[in-house]
Symmetry: C2
Subunit: 431 residues, 2 copies
C-alpha cells in the first residue's frame, strides 16, 4: 500500500470508511485491555515463586559474617547482597548501599536530600532561587514526576538512537550552574528501548558542569533485561568511566530487582563513589536503622549469584520476547510503508516507543481508550506531560496475555490509521 500522504482525498475517505467499520467492530467486543504500564505478567512472577521457599523456619537467617538478619542493624546492606547487586550492575560491592523495595524511592530520597541538605557540602537546593534538570525525551514519567514535585525546572533534551543529544547536554551543563542533574535510563531506555553508545557514556563522564553539585542520575533499570541471547546491548559502566575521566563523584547509579524477582518486594540499591556514599550515609543513619535484611538474604539464597540471576532473566526473556515480536509484527504488517508512524525495535527492556504523525498521539490514545484499550497517556513521556509534537506513545507489551496483546495492538494500529487519515484530510482542507 502506498504512503497515506500520497493518497488523494477520495482514496483516503474510502479507506477511512472501511477502517471505521473495523473500529466499530472492535467497540462491539467490549474490550478491557491494558498496555499502559511496564508491569511483569503473572507468568513472569511465577518464575520467582521459589523465592518463597529458600528461607523457612528451620533455616539459619545468619550472614556469612555472623549478622543475624532478623534483628536491627547493618545500615547499608548485608555483604552478600552487595556482592550480588554489585555483579548485577558491574560495580564493586564497596560502592553500593542496599535500600528497601524500590529504586524510585531511592531516587526520590536522593532529590529530597539534595533539597534539604545539599550535595556533598553544597548549598541545599531549597535555598536556591532556581534548580533545573535535564530530561532526555521521551523519557520515564515517574522521573519527571519527582523533579516536578520538587518544583525543579525541567529542560527537554532530545533522545537519539545513541542517547541524549550530547552537544546540547554539554553546552547547557557547562554554562548554567542551576542545572543540577540529568535523568538517564542508559540501557533499553524507557520508552525508546535504545541504549547509550560508548561515545555518549564517555562524553557524559567527561562533562564539566558549572555546578559542583551536578550529578548524573543513572537509572540502571534494565541492565540485564535482554530479550535475546545473541543480540544484546552493552553500555559502558558509568562509575568506572567517571573515575577514569577524573570525575569520580559525578554519578549516582540506581537499580533494583523489581523486574527480576517481585516488583514491590525486591531490593533496591544506589552505587556511587566513596565521597558520595559518605554523604548519603550521613542522612541514611538518621532515616533508618537499616533496610529489610531478611529480604536481602532471601534474594541471595534464591539467585545464589549472578549466574543464577542471568539464568533467571533468560526465563523472563522467553516470556517477553514473543510479546515484543507480536507487537512488532503487527505494526510492520499494518503500518509498514504507510509513513504515518515509526517505532523502535528494542533488544531489551519493557517498552516500544511509537512516533505518530505530529499532533496525533493524544487522539490515538483516546481512540484506543474508547474501544477498551488503555495505553500510557500521550504526553506522559515528557516533562509536565507536554509532548511538544504530540507524537510519542509508549507501548508496554509485558503485562497482557499474548492473545490480548495481539487484539490490543491491532486496535492500536487501526486507531493510528484513522487518526492519521483525519489529520492528512484536515491538512488537505486547509491547503
Amino acid at each position: 500500500m502506498k504512503p497515506y500522504g500520497e493518497m488523494t482525498r477520495e482514496e483516503l475517505l474510502e479507506l477511512k470508511k472501511g477502517l471505521s467499520e473495523q473500529y466499530r467492530e472492535f467497540q462491539g467486543r467490549n474490550l478491557q485491555l491494558d498496555m499502559s504500564r511496564g508491569k511483569p505478567s503473572s507468568e513472569q512472577l511465577d518464575l520467582s515463586m521459589g523465592m518463597m521457599d529458600v528461607l523457612g523456619s528451620s533455616d539459619d537467617l545468619t550472614c556469612e559474617d555472623g549478622t543475624d538478619c532478623r534483628n536491627y542493624g547493618v545500615l547499608d546492606g548485608i555483604a552478600e547482597a552487595k556482592e550480588l547487586i554489585g555483579d548485577m550492575i558491574e560495580v564493586p560491592a564497596d560502592n553500593i548501599i542496599i535500600y528497601g523495595n524500590s529504586s524510585l524511592n531511592v531516587m526520590y530520597d536522593t532529590i529530597s536530600r539534595s533539597m534539604t541538605h545539599g550535595v556533598m557540602g553544597n548549598t541545599p537546593w531549597c535555598k536556591l532561587d532556581k534548580v533545573k534538570f535535564l530530561c532526555p525525551v521521551p523519557g520515564y514519567d515517574r522521573h519527571f514526576a519527582i523533579t516536578e514535585y520538587f518544583n525543579i525546572e525541567m529542560i527537554n533534551i532530545p533522545m537519539t538512537p545513541d542517547g541524549p543529544d550530547m552537544d546540547l547536554v554539554e553546552s547547557l551543563v557547562s554554562s548554567d550552574d542551576a542545572i543540577k542533574g540529568i535523568w538517564c535510563v542508559p540501557k533499553y531506555s524507557n520508552p525508546t528501548g535504545n541504549s547509550y553508545s560508548d561515545q555518549t557514556v564517555r562524553r557524559l563522564a567527561r562533562l564539566k558542569p558549572a555546578a559542583p553539585d551536578f550529578r548524573i542520575y543513572w537509572d540502571n533499570a534494565y541492565g540485564i533485561h535482554h530479550l535475546y541471547d545473541d543480540v544484546q546491548d552493552n553500555v559502558l559502566e558509568i562509575l568506572a568511566e567517571c573515575k577514569r575521566a577524573g570525575n569520580p563523584d559525578l554519578v549516582y547509579k540506581f537499580s533494583s530487582t523489581s523486574k527480576i524477582s517481585f516488583p514491590g518486594s525486591g531490593i533496591a540499591a544506589i552505587a556511587a563513589s566513596q565521597n558520595n556514599l559518605a554523604d548519603i550515609r550521613k542522612q541514611l543513619c538518621i532515616q533508618t536503622i537499616g533496610h529489610d535484611k531478611v529480604n536481602q538474604l532471601r534474594h541471595v539464597r534464591f539467585f545464589q549469584n549472578i549466574h543464577g540471576m542471568i539464568e533467571h532473566m533468560r526465563k523472563h526473556a522467553n516470556i517477553l520476547r514473543p510479546k515484543f515480536e507480536a507487537v512488532e509484527e503487527i505494526l510492520d504488517r499494518e503500518l509498514g510503508g504507510l509513513e504515518i508512524g515509526r517505532w523502535t525495535k528494542p533488544r531489551g527492556g519493557y517498552f516500544i516507543s511509537f512516533e505518530s504523525l505530529d499532533g496525533c498521539a493524544k487522539a490515538i490514545v483516546a481512540k484506543c481508550k474508547k474501544a477498551g484499550v488503555v495505553m500510557t497517556n500521550a504526553g506522559a513521556t515528557y516533562p509536565y506531560g507536554k509532548d511538544p509534537h504530540d507524537s510519542n506513545i509508549r507501548i508496554a507489551p509485558s503485562y497482557p496475555p499474548l492473545s490480548d496483546l495481539i487484539t490490543a495492538t491491532e486496535l492500536f494500529a487501526l486507531c493510528v490509521k484513522i487518526v492519521s487519515i483525519n489529520k492528512i484530510l484536515a491538512e488537505k482542507e486547509t491547503v
Copy 2:
C-alpha cells in the same frame, strides 16, 4: 545501709576501697556486654520463625480483593494489613497507610515532607526562618536526631510520671507559631517506661496551637508491649480523642511491628485523619509505586488477627519479664536506701530509666565501659545529647542473655556507687 550523703568522709573512703577492689575484679573478667540498645534477643526473634513458612511457593499470594501481592501497585497497603495494624493501634483501617519496614523512616519522611512541601497547604518549613519542636525529656535519641538533622530547634519539656509537663506544653504551643510539633512516646515511654495519663492525652488533643501546621508526632512504639498479663498500662486513643476535641488533624500516629515480628523486616504504618492522609498520599504517589505487599501478606497470614498478635506478645513478655525483674532486683538490693539514684519500674516497653546524682551519668557510663559493659551514651536521651543535669541513663535489658544481664547490672550498680562516692567526697572537699 544508710544514705551515702549521711556518711562521713572516712566512711566513704573506706567504702570506696572495697568497691574499687570489686571493680578491679570485674575488669579482670574481660567482659564484653551490651545494654545500650532496645534490641530483642535472639530468643525473642525465634518466636517469629513461623513467619518464614506461611508463604511458600505453592501458596496463593493474592489478597481477598484479588490483588496479586507479587506485582506493582496498592500505594497505601493491602486491606488485610490495614485491618491488622488498625486493630493493633486501635484505629479504623481507613485511617491507615502501610509503609515499608521502619516507622523511624516514616517519621523521617514526615518531617522531610514538611520541610520541602509543608503540612496541608501551609508554608514549607524550609522557607521559614525558624522551626521548633517540643521534646519531652528524657526521650528517644533517634527522634531528636531527626529534628536535629533538619536544623529544627528542640525545646526540652520535662517528663512527669503522667507524661510531658502539660502546663508548659500548652503555654508554649499556644504562643509560638514556630513550634510545629511535639515528639511523644505515649505508652511505656522511651526511656522512662511511663505512660501518658488520660488527662495528659485529653489536654494534648485539646491544644490550641498558634501554628496551623502543628502536629503531635505520636510514636506508638510499645502499644501492645506489656510485661505483665494482669497489670497493663492503658493510653487513650489519640486520633479519636483529637476528633472528639474538634482537632481531627492534630496528630500523626506512627507504629510498626519491629518489636513484634522481626526488627528491620516488619511493617510500619502511619495513622491520621483523612485530610492528613490525602496530604501524605500526594507525596507518597511520587515517592513509590507501593511498599512490600508480600511482607504485608506474610504478617497477616502469620498473625491471622489481633488475637494472634496479642498471644504472640505474651511470649515476648515471658522472655522479657525475668530480665526486667532481674535488673530491678539488683538495683533494689544494691542501691536501695543509698539515695544515690532513682529508677523506673515499667510495666512494658524496652527500657528502665535511671536517674543518678546530678553530674554523675557520664562518669558512670564511662566507668561501665572501662570494665566491658556498654550502656547507652549518657546524654543520648536529651536533644543535642546534652542532659542538663548529667543524670539520666537508659538501661536496655532486652538483648543480653539473663546471666550476662545480671553481671552487667551488678557492674552498673557498682559504678553508680563509686562515682556517687567520688561526687559526694568532692563536694565535702569544696565545702
